[in-house]
Symmetry: C2
Subunit: 407 residues, 2 copies
């Protein structure tokens, strides 16, 4: 039984977090520096952007995670520390500052940055903010919220999730914070996602769990098809739930993966809903494809189509754009067998059967598509592959935000 709870990264046993405004963002008083600290050394794993241009913090985090252990995560927003010649040096300095203020060795500190690419990140505001940051660390839910706020860029809401589950009679917890909104088309990871758990699980199995999970969670999410340079998804497991440590595949690992997916897929919906400028969540589920890979390619293409996204913004039941996206998705589909429904809490409108249009009431369609959460259900009628992808509508606001992001 997986139960959703509050508390974010502070929900699992042994984790404290906090976030402060240290001044990286000059034009806006918003928290911009976050720290997640475990009481004990954790097994840990990460997945990162596939972009060849990688943020300097990713290089440092990868090195620090090479041994499969970590104890803290420091993150700043407002500057991506990417495409700067001193980037690695600054990212390492951030880890050393954590060591100086908490005693956790720099080699057990993970680091991430998000914000503008190609502007040098000064270490001064980070150094100046450390005392307040470490002093504020708390295991209460407020700590997670402050950290979640500190990693936001153009996000309009904090992204937190947590759930409990049981392993061999022990209650375990997984918690997470994330940030998203722009440059979101993760491939192996989302922009920033930090997960904590008190489950006892080896580094190797943690890595296997998240590498598998992203295929049906973060890799199925797109705001704008731009794969960021700084995507990072890290997980820390404190083991304080005292379950029998998970060291191989089997029932316990399956339960853990399911709980993990509850958290990550929930965050995907939240990340899509809060896509830059978005007014609507678009969730596309493809069923009956020849393979899961076909279903994934098809679902992802639909939520990625600018034309479809703009039509959803305008509540226009332009299902031809769904067919078009399915057709160029690369999925192996029989286009004469495709069924498409538009659905929301206001009802369901079947628009296509066997690849051809069916008559529908434009009025009904408008009502269904005027809701905040739009579901596009695609039936392939060929096999058993299914997948869900998340995206958002394309709006004037997206263009506005990104027409003048740096200033």
């Amino acid at each position: 039984m997986i139960k959703k709870i509050s508390g974010g990264v502070c929900a699992p046993k042994g984790f404290r977090a906090y976030g402060v405004h240290c001044g990286i963002r000059k034009n806006r008083v918003k928290r911009d520096l976050a720290l997640i600290l475990s009481d004990v050394r954790c097994t840990a794993a990460g997945v990162y952007t596939t972009n060849l241009v990688k943020g300097a913090p990713i290089l440092v985090t990868k090195a620090h995670l090479a041994d499969g252990f970590a104890q803290a995560v420091i993150v700043n927003s407002g500057n991506a520390n990417t495409c700067n010649d001193n980037g690695v040096e600054i990212a390492e300095q951030m880890c050393r500052l954590v060591e100086q203020h908490t005693g956790v060795p720099a080699a057990d500190v993970l680091v991430a940055s998000t914000g503008v690419i190609g502007q040098k990140l000064s270490i001064d505001p980070v150094a100046g903010g450390m005392e307040e940051l470490v002093g504020g660390l708390t295991a209460e839910a407020e700590g997670s919220s402050a950290a979640a706020e500190a990693i936001m860029t153009t996000d309009t809401v904090r992204k937190e999730a947590a759930c409990t589950f049981t392993l061999g009679g022990k209650t375990c917890t997984i918690g997470a914070i994330a940030k998203g909104v722009g440059m979101i088309c993760p491939n192996m990871a989302t922009l920033l996602l930090f997960v904590t758990t008190d489950a006892a699980i080896s580094s190797e199995m943690l890595q296997r769990a998240i590498s598998c999970d992203v295929k049906s969670s973060l890799n199925m999410l797109s705001v704008d098809r731009d794969t960021s340079t700084n995507d990072t998804f890290c997980i820390l497991a404190s083991g304080l739930a005292e379950n029998e440590p998970i060291t191989e595949e089997g029932h316990a690992f399956a339960v853990f993966c399911k709980a993990l997916h509850t958290v990550t897929s929930g965050l995907c919906r939240l990340l899509a809903s809060d896509g830059e400028g978005a007014t609507k969540l678009i969730e596309c589920t493809v069923k009956g494809a020849k393979t899961v890979q076909d279903a994934r390619a098809a679902a992802k293409a639909v939520v990625c189509s600018d034309l479809l996204k703009a039509a959803i913004f305008g509540s226009d039941a332009n299902w031809g754009r769904v067919l078009c996206a399915l057709g160029y998705s690369g999925a192996d589909l029989d286009v004469t067998k495709l069924d498409v429904d538009f659905r929301s809490r206001a009802g369901v409108v079947p628009v296509c059967r066997g690849g051809a249009g069916v008559a529908f009431s434009e009025e009904d369609a408008k009502r269904v598509l005027s809701e905040k959460e739009i579901y596009i259900d695609v039936g392939c009628n060929e096999g058993r592959g299914s997948a869900t992808a998340w995206g958002c509508d394309l709006t004037y606001e997206y263009v506005k935000i990104n027409g003048d992001y740096r200033t």
Copy 2:
């Protein structure tokens, strides 16, 4: 010596064209039916969309082109005749109407449609418009213009091009009309492009010429990364220029291909400039890549990035987005060697050298990026592969047009 001239598809010897309003579009009195007719049977070739969902006219055109010959092209706008269960029947009826009114066998007629997907196309307005259409056919430039207008959807300007060149002392001409604007990310062809020439050239060499040309012309063009269901690029060669027929590779074929590229690349710029809602042309040239394929992938990724497109709309020199796109393009690049300049007729602003930012005047950058044609020059400093891609900015108007396209 390749010389650009006016006259579009009517510029080469032996071609007449015209366009009329037959009433497929009910809410707007705009020409919506076009015909291109050759005085003689032509060698011909075509390339089509790679989308699995293919417009019915493509199936008919492919069948009619199987023998490498054609004499006429009929095209309607306002309805894509795609995802309709009677689509092929209607497309064949359109060809038979041409036979009835001109005497050209239906099997030598090519057909194309563009507009809304999934609404049945009635043959009635087409049948009703044939007499006026055939009666208006002319070899004057006005014929090409009327046809070019008739294939427009949300296009704001007609797309025509033509040029002359010399083969063995004979003056040859290539002319073309095209339409673009939305659902533009052709893969083997653009939405609709019809090319005529009076050069004598075999069907096989024509096919080779256009299949090769699209790699550096239409396949390098994107308005919204949505590959249409109806992309069609057909070429008809009347042979009336009386040059020694081109039947193999060599000097004459190379000259022909160069002239063809003059026409197609010019139309790519025009198609990108008039992208739905666009206010600016974006032309990205990548030089010094390891291979041509790397250069193409890199250049295309830049002009496809919504984030970069929105930044250009806002005249924001956010070069980090160029680096980001290059990084996820799939091209094999050394990111530490990348140079980037923003350029327009107002000047050049170097923004990145060796993968890291260089200081530049925001004021200068704003002035350069406020122009109508923006050039992004990328230097890879690794090899000799180069390529150019064309796109446009992402604007409020794009969202507006596509939020309510059907009504």
